[in-house]
Symmetry: C2
Subunit: 289 residues, 2 copies
Amino acid sequence: MSAFEYFQENWTPVINDFLEKLLKDEVDDHKISQIMAYSVMAGGKRLRPLLFLSTLNTLGKKIDESEIRIACGIELIHTYSLIHDDLPAMDNDDYRRGKLTSHKKWGEAEAILAGDALLPMGIQWIAEGSQSAELVSIITRAVGPNGMVGGQYLDIDSTNNSSVSNDDKFINRMEWLKTGCLIEASVEMAAVYAKASDIEKVKLVDFSRVFGRAYQIYDDLVDIVETSEEAGKATHKDEEEGKNNTLTLLGIDKSRQKLKELINEAKDDLKDLNSEVLLGFLDLYKKVL
Amino acid sequence: MSAFEYFQENWTPVINDFLEKLLKDEVDDHKISQIMAYSVMAGGKRLRPLLFLSTLNTLGKKIDESEIRIACGIELIHTYSLIHDDLPAMDNDDYRRGKLTSHKKWGEAEAILAGDALLPMGIQWIAEGSQSAELVSIITRAVGPNGMVGGQYLDIDSTNNSSVSNDDKFINRMEWLKTGCLIEASVEMAAVYAKASDIEKVKLVDFSRVFGRAYQIYDDLVDIVETSEEAGKATHKDEEEGKNNTLTLLGIDKSRQKLKELINEAKDDLKDLNSEVLLGFLDLYKKVL
């Protein structure tokens, strides 16, 4: 078992237990708690919280309850983004991770509100776990109009807009904002929280940017390579709906090539760090190569 | 001119200019910036930012750019809540402050995303203006599942549910969460930020709770007393749609009586403070008495 697999097997249940317990204990209304937990506990990989914790590990920072609270705050925010992305007015998806999406299960108003509840609670956990206004600044910038929500807006705005379907720069920017910003923030928050040196921080943030860019290409490839059953959501859907991404731009072979290049770049960023665990994240991409 | 009127006339344009300038300068994408600013600049009274600043004034804290940034962060969050409340899946309102609502003007996806952009940016401004994780904790709790969003959920869940239309306790709780929590947070953040003594803080927070409770009754009375043209939105709508509030429970006369009692209670809370400006907020309610 690799260091990464060991780390993942160790901390994933801790994250899951914490999320389940706190959504029960810290949300007063039972029904809202249930609606929030339905999506949070739907079987995500906990990639972003694990990335946060792995970066702490790389920097020799001990992981305790405060650190888990921050990590889980990131997952709440990620879940909010999925719930809103799936809404009828947005991507209009019926299934996510093999289960009915929030609005299909609970209703549209309930899904909007579940997302609206998860976002501030995620930021709250980050603020209270870290006691740091700087971490709040990092996460709120990453998910605001110049980050994740900005990317989602460009996506909505450009769907079926053929004038941008071949615009490499536009697509890179959109994909970066949609997915990369939150991944970068997960690593950057860990670097700031663990008081990394300037050099460590630059390397880690560089790694997170390359990893995040690779993740989007990976995600698009999963959409094509896997069957709908394996992926737990509707696949082959992006192309049908006129969505523009690196895959529709480069095709499968060149996307795989690009992904390999990015993996090597990411490995390079981690070279001089105590990065055994972080390196393991790159193995995730093997299944589409 | 009262001290309150002077304060309001002095700071309202400062708040408005700051909001307009920063939404232009700090949002990269012109179109998203425009959609956000459309709702933020739609002519609100800036009640919550003014409450924050007036509480600072009461405590003798100087108002400078950092303080304005926090105040404006509160207004972004308030505006997000209005945009999402108006959505078709929620209250389905076409007009707000006499203008088309965000989703009517820009589309539903755009309105959801404008709200999703304003919330984290509002928290960001509060974090960066205050450099305080405690203020972030106060604001995120106030707007999360145990605060504003929780109230909105109870509202949606109880509309046309006759089993709660006579439940005084349920209605008080729902109205408190929907409107009161953010008002209380505006005052509590100022008390923490200006390092109020424990006694000052208790009095100010008490005041904010009574003021917030009164505000909801006032808002419901405006819905009946004013014509649609004066209020800038559809009035007499709550009753038609089976919405439960203090007004449908008590009727107009007893609601007015209740409001008068709350005003006296609020005045009592402010008695020993340097509260000339804060007291003036209570004059707002005169127009429905």
